[in-house]
Symmetry: C2
Subunit: 407 residues, 2 copies
Amino acid sequence: MKEILGGVTAAKGFMAASCEANIKYKDRTDMAMVYSKTPCVCAGTFTTNVVKAACVKWDQKVVHSGEMMQAVVINSGIANAATGQKGWDACVATAKAVENTLKVPYTSVAVASTGVIGAQLPVEKLVKGVEMMSPVLKDSLEAGTEAAKAIMTTDTLHKELAVSFTVGNKEVTLGGMSKGSGMIHPNMCTMLAFLTTDLAIEKSLLQEAVSDVVGDTFNMITVDGDTSTNDTLLLMANGEAQNPVITEKNEDYNTFKEALYFVCETLAKKMAADGEGASKLFEAKVVNAKTKEDAKILSRAIVGSNLSKAAIFGCDANFGRFLCAMGYSGSLFDENDVEMFFKSENGTIQVFDKGTPLEFDEEKALKIMKAKSVCVFVDMHEGDASATAWGCDLTHEYVTINADYRS
Amino acid sequence: MKEILGGVTAAKGFMAASCEANIKYKDRTDMAMVYSKTPCVCAGTFTTNVVKAACVKWDQKVVHSGEMMQAVVINSGIANAATGQKGWDACVATAKAVENTLKVPYTSVAVASTGVIGAQLPVEKLVKGVEMMSPVLKDSLEAGTEAAKAIMTTDTLHKELAVSFTVGNKEVTLGGMSKGSGMIHPNMCTMLAFLTTDLAIEKSLLQEAVSDVVGDTFNMITVDGDTSTNDTLLLMANGEAQNPVITEKNEDYNTFKEALYFVCETLAKKMAADGEGASKLFEAKVVNAKTKEDAKILSRAIVGSNLSKAAIFGCDANFGRFLCAMGYSGSLFDENDVEMFFKSENGTIQVFDKGTPLEFDEEKALKIMKAKSVCVFVDMHEGDASATAWGCDLTHEYVTINADYRS
């Protein structure tokens, strides 16, 4: 497997476009479209929030119907959540607009939205956006990059990635884009992510691979503990690589899953590092826990704690806050088993040793904490399960962004 | 029942003292002591955090042993959590110092600490503090107020309260003090609270009343979602009011419980309003939920969400964030049943009506949100259970306080 340039248009047969639809933002693109020249098998994961955006309900129908998927239309600015019948009608109208312009069944068109909850989408603008984008769909890498930019909200960087790998002597490509930033908390894929591949694979195996990988990647990041109403990950596979169709969990399947893991983990980490107001990537790695579930709960509690996040912002090796977060996480453990370390490119320091706080060199600790990416490493000594979670620091900028009127 | 002046020394037979022990803070009092002239039955509730401070473990032993309690010694600055054997030894040494100075069994002395986790307490300073305070214990209201000040950390106001009521023709007094501010999240009583009463009551009934009331008061507040290692509430009852001892759940018991509820709710709201960096009290009232548990989960999710808290700070009637928090709370409901309102002393406005967002007067909404105390009122229309939770807004000041080195 190797990383290559590009995002959603890297794989064969995929095209993208974007436009200024003026839904909420002015003077920037706010709609994007991804289209496959041929129908795709598809898989998806969605928010577990009880209040689901209309587009999430629509996409669940498309993915679970067993139909093929051929296009996805995304807008930023308004989330189309808590919008009742009108919200649902907006999804149908958008999908039907694609049926009109591209002559694909509207039931093969996914839609996704991100932005303010509780506001109605301007349907005419969405339809006009589809009409503007359809004729200018391009398979260039640049078109993919522009799409990744159009779906941003408070993100400061667009996020895209592609890899290539070999399956049955054929070169296969997998690419994707995502957006995150606020209302980011692991429970189902977090935020919006769209992946495309030219791999040939059966739908049920595609879904299984996606569900497995999302659990260890997108579901392990948190920015603010708020699980959005709109979280959606979609993966479209059009088979254009012409590899022998993957129909069982053989070596080819594993090769693909490894590539998928890499793409999802990388996009997830990019999202965590670019969380609203974030100045650093904050990683928690828990090893030798009793069970995988314990390792996940503990690592997520560490990166999810406001006090931990504020300490990371302040470059303060205040390890008691991390241990406190582990303690209220819901996982049971004995603090007398626990060792804790801080790690970064600037070194490693142990701060807690099986129930006892260690005297440590504050200057060395400060140097370690000042890196752009800081890891809290915890050895539980209670089993052999591990997990890693990613988050970011809590900064003044986070408050500024979110106290801003109707951000 | 009527509110009267004072706090922990309002009830008959209780004395308090405080001193500058220089444990971590300089030029302020940082130790306090509450003492009853006669032995007390006692009740307590403690943090559910797996990582419990040494003093919590000590107090659990004192409360659950069935022994009487006669004194409690409190320090601010260092939490004595994650401190191993040394931490435990510090508790024993402090209790024994009280045995030396006041001639009460050291097993009747509770200890409590608040501050940095993972640092060791300077035992000599604690012992010296006990020696300084013991001879100057006073039953004046002022001594109680000074004790309430000594236990503050990042609190901006000291918190105390007292009420009197009649039981069996005798006037009974119940008073208390508490401290909160950071690492405040409902799961067991939150923070430190010390209540004193001259009521005569059986220990098991006292504990039952405390456990019941804490569930609807202290456990319904949140500042930052971090459940501390040190949360402790202690209630001492010395019987000096000479009412007929309460031995069953009769009218007297109910009178007392009502007073206890008032004191706990008032102290809890004071804590929420004075949360770290807070500029307002943020209340969520959920009515007509399926079960009491649902009502609690939903109201706590609303006041616990960072995005909700930031919206409250920004005076933004961004109701989608509140609905989103309800959606990921873990409680199941249908958004098509839900009505949501914003309320304050400046008026009431409905923003969501059974699945549909309402167009509302933004100017009126802004005026409502600008009050010092704002309530999100949610009618679930799914049952008849209600609950109220209290929190505060998320401000720049919160980040400043907690990014400060080893705060």
